[in-house]
């Protein structure tokens, strides 16, 4: 059986599945249940500075996007950081960590952008025995209006400054949680690294309005007829998160910086994908909020089964394995030619490939009177749309033309050589070789 144990910036956990800082980790009761269910670690919901706690709205905090059968695909929230007193949280963190020494317990923090505020909170967190801290530079709603959360995360200089304060004032590992509400995630990641961060975690939630009530013309969730943008998460955000992870992993300035992957992780497969893009572990929230803590059992068994099948003995065997294959478009091989192939045995004759290709693509699929659908190689540009709209998995596939074969669309013989845009004759930037 594969070894799922994880060591992330020196923090050990029995598996790489942590609960992200969020409502599920707001108090002792939940966290104990999470550990009992098998979660490897927890990032305690964000603590603020000493004093009267923040308050939350008393109307709905969440909005959702659904797929078929009300499958929750995306969730948005306007909940703030913990609204419970700091001392109570600290007492509970200490008690839980004492009882579950083998589990990771990281504390998320968000205090004003003043060194004194950070100096005040770091020792009291350290005193709980927590394994590390995560700086919440991500929350895009509410706290950002008060100069915290994503308001910090959107200014690389602030990230660097606060990270440095923390590194100077605690022995605990410092994880910087990044907001996706920026144009290029590499700059905040670089700032965190410059500030001395042990790791970054990403992504926090994405600014969003999930829906508009067409009777009241108010965004949802609606509080007394009004709504505010909230943070979007869940399966819908996974592709966005994975791209940001990959950008940091393959950027020379930040390559090798430990990452904790967050964003719509729902199954073991999602986790494995994030980890293959360089994340040492993953954090989960929406899946737990949708299905309860038990989902971690499938993640553990699934990742273990896949690792066994693939011969990965430890998670280090596959972390980052996909990073070298993420490239700029200009380096993709233009001499790689594929054609769609429709398996007539698997085809159920719905005609969706035909409608998609005929109406919106390259008119490369023919339809006979008795509903036989076939690819016309002389028109097929291998766009893959037919594969994506086909309801039968594996019915339409892409076949690679071997070197020496003729691409009927272009009449060109397929080359075995790599040829990309950087050397393409149509590229005006190509400097002719002397």
């Amino acid at each position: 059986m594969a070894d799922l144990r994880s060591e992330f910036v020196g923090i050990k956990s029995p598996n790489p599945f942590w609960l992200a800082s969020a409502p599920p980790t707001d108090k002792e009761y939940n966290v104990r249940r999470a550990y009992e269910a098998g979660w490897g670690g927890v990032v305690w919901k964000t603590l603020g500075e000493e004093g009267p706690p923040v308050v939350n709205v008393n109307g709905p905090r969440y909005g959702a996007i659904f797929g078929a059968d009300r499958r929750l695909l995306g969730l948005n929230n306007i909940e703030l950081i913990t609204d419970r007193p700091l001392q109570q949280n600290l007492r509970e963190i200490k008690a839980v960590k004492r009882d579950y020494p083998d589990r990771a317990l990281v504390v998320s923090l968000m205090v004003p952008c003043e060194e004194e505020a950070w100096k005040a909170i770091l020792p009291v967190v350290e005193e709980t025995g927590a394994d590390g801290i995560e700086l919440n530079f991500g929350c895009p709603h509410g706290m950002a209006e008060r100069g915290m959360g994503s308001a910090v995360g959107q200014v690389p200089e602030y990230i660097e400054m606060v990270t440095r304060w923390c590194k100077q004032n605690t022995r605990m590992p410092v994880i910087v949680k990044l907001t996706p509400n920026i144009t290029d995630v590499r700059y905040p990641a670089q700032a965190a690294k410059r500030g001395g961060a042990d790791a970054v975690s990403l992504i926090n939630t994405i600014n969003s309005i999930t829906s508009v009530n067409l009777d009241s013309f108010a965004p949802e969730p609606t509080i007394d007829g009004k709504g505010s943008h909230g943070g979007y998460c869940g399966p819908a955000v996974k592709p966005i998160a994975m791209n940001m992870v990959a950008e940091i992993a393959r950027s020379p300035e930040t390559a090798g910086l430990p990452m904790s992957g967050i964003g719509g992780i729902t199954t073991w497969r999602d986790a494995a994908e994030f980890m293959s893009l360089g994340c040492g572990n993953v954090q989960v929230c929406t899946a737990a909020m949708t299905y309860g803590f038990k989902v971690v059992q499938e993640m553990i068994s699934g990742l273990g089964q896949w690792m066994d099948e693939k011969g990965h003995n430890s998670i280090d065997d596959f972390v980052g394995r996909a990073v070298p294959n993420v490239r700029d478009w200009q380096h993709l091989n233009l001499n790689h030619v594929t054609k769609a192939r429709i398996s007539q045995d698997d085809c159920i004759k719905c005609g969706r490939c035909y409608a998609a290709c005929e109406d919106t693509s390259h008119q490369a699929i023919s339809m006979s009177a008795d509903r036989v659908f076939e690819v016309m190689d002389d028109e097929c540009v291998a766009c893959n749309l037919c594969v994506n709209v086909c309801p039968v998995e594996g019915c339409i596939t892409m076949e690679t033309l071997e070197p020496g074969m003729v691409d009927e669309r272009t009449g060109q013989v397929v080359s075995g050589e790599h040829g990309d845009w950087t050397t393409h004759p149509n590229n005006p930037s190509v400097v002719a070789a002397e």
């Binding site: 078929a68 009300r70 159920i348 004759k349 719905c350 005609g351 969706r352 035909y354 509903r371």
Partner: protein, 446 residues
């Protein structure tokens, strides 16, 4: 002591009122909102969809299902009603398993079609429950059309004609409209007076008058209708029943299945409707199955459908056969009645065993008896009046738009040649004839 399934003879009240009510409840309970969304989501929105091609009324099924999926059941209903104004009844009685759902790509691929019939019911019920009629009449044309028969074909034709601005008078032989929807189909397919509710809803278009208890050939004639109206549409159905041509068919306890079903449909209290202890239904179509299943649901102890050919030739669909056998009805294939046995009252039917392999029906020489105290004949219906029109294979001869041999007279539904004897086919024929009548009366057609 009251009666039970084991009481000999033809008696009422074999089972409790509660059991009867339960037995005759909706065959397919309606989908609720969430069930409809889940069912609608299974539709692949096929290109040039096979289901639409298979529908005799060519309803744009992928479109109406997508309209349901996006929360606009009213739009879905309009899509349905534009093609089939009796879409509500068809959603209940169509043999979808041999039409749209049979060719659904998910049926072909997985053996589980999209629930097209039930989704159609969901959409149409929603609009009808709100008592909304989605269509309005065009400007009056000044033309008047007589429609004979207020069944599916006649109602469909009348609605389309009224919508196009013509005035319509429907003549029907019975005291209620709906035709076989009201008198012919099994009760559990049209509960809570749906057939009448549908007629009332359909008439909301306006411009249609129904005159009841007016029978063609008796109180009205084709000639007088031709004189009084600009066009005539006949949708009179098949009023007669084929004879058994077996000795003793006049014995007490032998009757036509269609009469039994009509009586059952019109009964106020099914616990007062008598049925035999041992019932034999002779025939192999939907009527046979409807009579057999309903006999069983009334409390008959033994019910047998006797069909002279084999299973593959049976007119009733596989779904209907399974429905019957799951209710405890026995289907006896290759059994041809030769003699009704009994001294005054039927006590048994003697059958000759047949072979029908290869399509050729032949007796094997074996005979056998099945005991019975009630026998229903369900071996096909016949045209009762041809009104002087050309008849072909027992039905009024029509072309593809319903024109008969006489100019100005159209026909459709079961009484006319072509098409299966299905509600949905009748609706299509009535609609298409109406379009041709309209084209003719307004000079837009040939």
């Amino acid at each position: 002591m009251g009666n039970s399934p084991h009481t000999d003879g033809i008696v009422a009240g074999r089972i409790s009122a509660d059991a009867v009510a339960d037995n005759f409840s909706d065959l397919h309970p309606p989908l609720d909102d969430h069930e409809a969304l889940v069912a609608a989501d299974r539709c692949y929105f096929c290109y040039d969809a096979p289901c639409q091609t298979a529908c005799p009324t060519s309803i744009d099924i992928p479109l109406f299902i997508r309209q349901i999926a996006t929360g606009t059941a009213e739009s879905a209903a309009r899509t349905i009603f534009e093609q089939n104004i009796l879409g509500g009844m068809c959603a209940r009685v169509c043999p979808t398993e041999t039409l749209c759902e049979e060719v659904c790509v998910r049926e072909v691929a997985e053996g589980k079609p999209v629930l097209i019939g039930q989704l159609q019911r969901y959409a149409t019920d929603k609009v009808m429950a709100e008592d909304k009629h989605p269509f309005t009449r065009a400007a009056p044309t000044g033309k008047a059309v007589a429609v004979v028969g207020a069944g599916p074909a006649g109602l469909s034709a009348a609605h389309r004609l009224a919508m196009l601005g013509h005035d319509v008078v429907i003549y029907d032989a019975r005291p209620k409209g709906g035709g076989l929807n009201e008198y012919g189909i099994a009760a559990y397919k049209s509960v809570e007076g749906f057939a009448q509710a549908e007629v009332d809803w359909l008439l909301q278009i306006g411009g249609i008058e129904i005159r009841y208890e007016q029978k063609l050939g008796e109180s009205i004639t084709l000639e007088t209708l031709q004189e009084r109206y600009d066009a005539v549409f006949l949708g009179v159905g098949l009023g007669g029943v084929n004879a058994l041509r077996a000795e003793g068919e006049d014995k007490e306890g032998v009757r036509d299945a269609v009469d039994f079903i009509a009586e059952l449909r019109q009964a106020d209290d099914l616990t007062k409707l008598p049925v035999g202890r041992r019932v034999i239904v002779i025939g192999g179509g939907m009527t046979a199955i409807d009579a057999a299943v309903q006999s069983k649901l009334l409390g008959a102890q033994e019910v047998t459908v006797a069909y002279r050919r084999d299973k593959s030739a049976m007119g009733a669909s596989e779904f209907e056969q399974v429905l019957a056998t799951s209710h405890g009805v026995r289907i006896e294939f290759n059994a041809q009645p030769v003699r009704v046995v009994g001294n005054g009252k039927v006590t048994a039917v003697e059958f000759a065993r047949t072979t029908s392999a290869g399509g050729e029906l032949a007796p094997t020489g074996e005979t056998f008896e099945i005991p019975a105290d009630q026998v229903f004949k369900a071996i096909g219906q016949t045209l009762t009046t041809d009104a002087g029109l050309t008849v072909e294979r027992g039905k009024i001869a029509v072309n593809e738009t319903g024109r008969t041999s006489v100019s100005g007279v159209w026909a459709g539904g079961d009484c006319a040649s072509g098409g299966d004897d299905l509600t949905v086919t009748a609706v299509a024929e009535g609609r298409d004839a109406a379009m041709d009548i309209h084209a003719t009366l307004t000079g837009e057609g040939a």
